[in-house]
Symmetry: C2
Amino acid sequence: MTEIKLAEISTLPPGDLDKEPIEDATKKITKEIEDLQEIMQAQRKYSLLVVMQGMDASGKDSAVKKVFDEIGPAGIKVQAFKKPTEEEMSHDFLWRVHKHVPEKGMIQVFNRSHYEDVLIQRVHKWIDEKTVMKRFSHINNFERLLQDSNTVVIKFYLHISKDQQLIELNERISDPKKFYKHNENDFNERQHWDEYMSAYEDVFKNCGPEIPWHIIPSDRNWYKEYCMASAILEALRALPLEYPPKQG
Amino acid sequence: MTEIKLAEISTLPPGDLDKEPIEDATKKITKEIEDLQEIMQAQRKYSLLVVMQGMDASGKDSAVKKVFDEIGPAGIKVQAFKKPTEEEMSHDFLWRVHKHVPEKGMIQVFNRSHYEDVLIQRVHKWIDEKTVMKRFSHINNFERLLQDSNTVVIKFYLHISKDQQLIELNERISDPKKFYKHNENDFNERQHWDEYMSAYEDVFKNCGPEIPWHIIPSDRNWYKEYCMASAILEALRALPLEYPPKQG
């Protein structure tokens, strides 16, 4: 197992790629995703859980919008996990996410996820290191449970640079259409950048090998969307999807 | 680890015990359970999950009624798990139970539980043996997750004899107050008695050592209730329960 060092992975597209052809390719891929999703939903045997993690302003919302653009709302659900409620805090950390795993035939997107419980909570030392290690193991067990129930789990880390994050956060202040996303606290969290990077690297190492993380260069939306869509298409293609046969 | 052989364990109270003094003792115990539950609820740090399994007519409902008699409804919830719904079947087998685990401060009773998925489903060969083994491991992981979140899990098997079951099932037909419980299918399930016993023994062996099963002799209600109440009291006493201190 090679350890992932985020600093060594580019947040930009390879230099020889042009935006337009890649956008065209993404469009074709999302259409094929739609086709396969329809079969998956008719078959009601498999399901897909898409876990999305990334720093503030890494573009999780916009990626969800673009990559799953073609899929009708009856085939996909998106759940954002924010600060836990009091009721959620009164249960084990997987309680609130387990509720929202996809039923057979469906795609479920987690915008942030159970991984927050080993990221923000660890960076701010709200939990001790022993708890972090236990949670890694609980997360692996949980994802294995889903896999054993024909749920494909695909995990994305949207990899942006610290400079790009600053550009995006400032745009939220200057662009009236983005201002609703502005949160002063994001600038505080930014101070912990290096600790987050190291917490993420630890996640990749401890909750990785069996269900690997896709590290998505995310400084450019068009390349981010292409990489995500490609990975999802590949995961769906690997399933023995087929329309159920005529009965009787 | 010594393997449990149900045929070697009596379903009756020890011969030297009398009903009345035991009933008095049970009453005292349930009052003490109530006292400790109140502290647990005020403290909001620990919770108790009571898993009840047993053959049809082993007296699960009546036991719940008697043992938790003193506890007010705000401190305890009972969830019966019957034939899974279509929605439940479209998820992993722990999905429907995880939803109902107790929040901090509460007692949650499972009348039947996730163990049905390695009992009835196995006896009727609805799942293969490889799946059974995987489920044992998922169950252990799940209960460990709860334990790590300060939930005490206590598991009861209500042990009745095949003869006593017949008496109880027939009483459901003859007693108008019990007729609503009559289900012709219980007599069919009874044909699989030996397979159920061996499936239970396998559960005790594979989902046992860390969180042991309490095998409760259950042919007599008064002794069954006494044994259950004693085990619950012991579990609560082992917790560092205390009222939260005055603030400021």
